[in-house]
């Protein structure tokens, strides 16, 4: 049983950071700490096991993208597309993130403790994105499945062209095309309660508005 933490710090390129991590994973290390790596993109991407990563500082785009099982804790900020196309695992960011958090998510949980930008959970295919703060526009565009939960306010075009899945908003928002509000069922409340207690979030699920897709079916040419 290896308990040591692999320290990855002061690297100039994503490739250097990731190859240190890869070496650690190959040697069966399970705990990693990444810090002082400037605002690099594509760090800790595509990890295929349940190891644990602590990232400290400010990071670039695509942090934790294509994650497939790892637990990634970011003590700091990320720019765009955190958790892009993740299939499994968990990402928790203590600060705010840029646009496109959880884009194309397939599974797992992404939790943002600060605010997020535009395009949260676009093309979500079955994961959970929870933002304990405000977000901007066009969240859930083309979403197929999964959940997006916003405790604060969302911007315009919320749920635009949704095809499936659910968005829950605690504050104000503007509905997008083909999205409609629905009643919160007990199931919804329990789901949110469980998530809020798991991630230590102080919010009242009964005050949330549920958004689902409306009737229009997309059609612009069969594949």
């Amino acid at each position: 049983m290896v308990t040591d933490v692999v320290m990855v710090y002061k690297k100039d390129s994503s490739r250097d950071v990731n190859s240190e991590i890869r070496k650690g994973l190959e040697n069966n290390f399970k705990d990693f700490c990444v810090c002082s790596v400037k605002q690099l993109d594509s760090i800790v991407v595509g990890v295929q096991n349940d190891s644990h990563f602590l990232l400290e500082g400010e990071f670039g785009d695509f942090i934790g993208a294509l994650n497939d099982g790892a637990e990634i804790e970011v003590d700091g900020f990320c720019q765009r597309y955190v958790g892009n196309n993740m299939t499994r695992g968990e990402i928790v960011v203590s600060g705010s993130v840029g646009d496109g958090a959880g884009f194309g998510l397939r599974g797992g949980n992404i939790v943002i403790k600060g605010n997020a930008g535009d395009a949260v959970g676009q093309l979500n295919k079955g994961g959970v994105i929870l933002v304990d703060g405000d977000i901007r526009d066009s969240s859930g565009l083309f979403m197929l499945h999964g959940d997006i939960i916003i405790t604060g306010n969302a911007g315009s075009e919320t749920g635009e062209w949704m095809v499936g899945g659910t968005i829950y908003v605690g504050g104000d928002f503007e509905l997008g095309f083909n999205a409609k509000t629905a009643n919160m069922a007990n199931r919804d409340i329990t789901k949110l309660q469980n998530l809020f207690s798991k991630y230590d979030i102080d919010a009242d699920p009964s005050k949330f508005t549920k958004i689902v897709h409306d009737k229009t079916r997309p059609f612009y040419g069969d594949e």
Partner: protein, 415 residues
């Protein structure tokens, strides 16, 4: 068809096809869809000929002397480029548009001919991976079935920006067609509309394609080549961006490029034909000094070894075949792929129809087709005096008419 009114006096402007189109629109209120690529009259490789070696250039003997047909693709940045016995690769066609039997036959046939198969954008069938020796996996706007495991199981990854039949358009597999099998492979819930947006929604800014390529490199540890697939638009600018984004290989699909379904008006009225598209891509790469660095796969309407030879002489490093491979398997060309009731079991998900596509027979036919095409191209290379198919060059070609000269910058025959 039975109630089809007859057409008196079809002319040039109001020809039979146009009249049928208007009737379709009038009857349904919708645009029409079909399979296959553009079929209008455009300049093709048939308007170019190969000059044989005679007294000035000695031909290479077909029986006694060797001619290498192997290609290595993607040496620019990655550790393990594609090593193939033939420059003819099978194009990306999705499971969903095609049946499972057809997809597996493509994979098996590619292995039997030393070629490569391509998943298309509908995810990867596990048996497809086992059967193909070389498998290209696609990363498209809808990211169906894309995961770290998926990317790491490919021998190359194709980032699909667009395709020739419907450049600038996304795709959409109707919810009704998203069967349990397809849902599993695409990793989406059963019975959900499977949407591929018309562009990468997560690449809104200049330089973002490069970021996607970097992401894929990091996930796959810089091991395998990354192909960037473009439809034929502003080829000059687009090819430069693909190069700057860091692709190892650029694949460019001309407007003849086939499809499982696209609107008729899009197929016929958009894009650049393969021949001038290839010419433009090559001259752009030469202009920026990137021709030797990056490999170019041309696709769209490639039918036989003649097309392969001419494409390579014009500067392509390899070709993809889509429609040709389907025809080799038994496609009868009804162009009704979008209906999903393919009478020969290729473009369908209906089990009784799919049975008509026998994997072993279809695989053998695809392999035969690729082998024969490769042999044709090799024979042409030899008679033009080359002992390596890669030595074909523009001086081996002439254009048959002035319009082709204008589109290809080749010399005119007789000059």
């Amino acid at each position: 068809m039975t109630n089809e009114k007859r057409i008196m006096n079809a002319g040039y402007i109001w020809n039979t096809e146009t009249i049928k189109q208007v009737r379709h629109n009038a009857r349904t209120g919708e645009y029409s869809l079909r399979g296959f690529g553009a079929e209008r009259q455009i300049k093709t490789f048939d308007d170019v000929i190969i000059l044989p070696g005679q007294a000035s250039v000695a031909p290479v003997d077909k029986y006694r002397e060797k001619c290498d047909t192997s290609v290595t693709l993607g040496t620019r940045f990655c550790d393990n480029p594609l090593e193939l016995k033939t420059p003819v690769l099978i194009a990306g066609m999705s499971f969903g548009a095609l049946s499972k039997s057809c997809k597996l036959a493509m994979a098996k046939g590619s292995a039997m001919s030393g070629s490569a198969a391509n998943t298309g954008e509908g995810g990867m069938l596990p048996d497809e991976r086992t059967m193909a020796d070389n498998l290209v996996v696609q990363y498209s706007s809808g990211r169906f079935g894309v995961s770290s495991k998926y990317l790491n199981s490919g021998d190359a990854i194709e980032v699909k920006v667009g395709q020739g039949a419907k450049p600038g358009m996304g795709g959409h597999l109707l919810a009704e067609k998203v069967s349990p099998d397809i849902a599993e492979i695409r990793e989406i819930p059963e019975g959900t509309d499977a949407l591929s947006p018309c562009r990468f929604l997560d690449a809104p800014n200049d330089g973002d394609l490069a970021k996607h390529i970097e992401l894929i490199r990091e996930v796959t540890d810089w091991k395998i080549p990354i192909i960037l697939k473009l439809g034929p638009g502003r080829i000059d600018e687009d090819v430069k961006i693909a190069y700057e984004a860091g692709a190892d290989i650029i694949s460019l699909d001309g407007m003849e490029g086939g499809t499982g379904a696209a609107p008729e008006v899009v197929i016929e009225q958009t894009g650049v034909p393969t021949l001038p598209a290839l010419n433009q891509a090559v001259s752009t790469l030469e202009e920026i000094g990137a021709k030797d660095d990056v490999d170019l796969i041309i696709t769209g309407g490639i039918r036989n070894g003649g097309d392969v030879a001419k494409a390579m002489a014009m500067g392509a490093d390899a070709v993809y075949v889509g429609t040709g491979a389907m025809i080799a398997m038994g496609c009868i060309g009804c162009r009704l792929c979008h209906i999903g009731k393919c009478p020969v079991g290729i473009a369908t998900q209906i089990p009784e129809l799919e049975e008509k596509c026998n994997i072993d027979i279809a695989a053998k036919q695809v392999a035969n087709y690729i082998n024969a095409m490769t042999e044709e191209a090799k024979m042409l290379a030899q008679l033009a005096g080359h002992s390596d198919i890669k030595n074909f060059n523009r001086s081996d070609l002439r254009a048959l008419d002035t319009e082709t000269v204008a589109q290809t910058d080749l010399k005119l025959v007789g000059r």
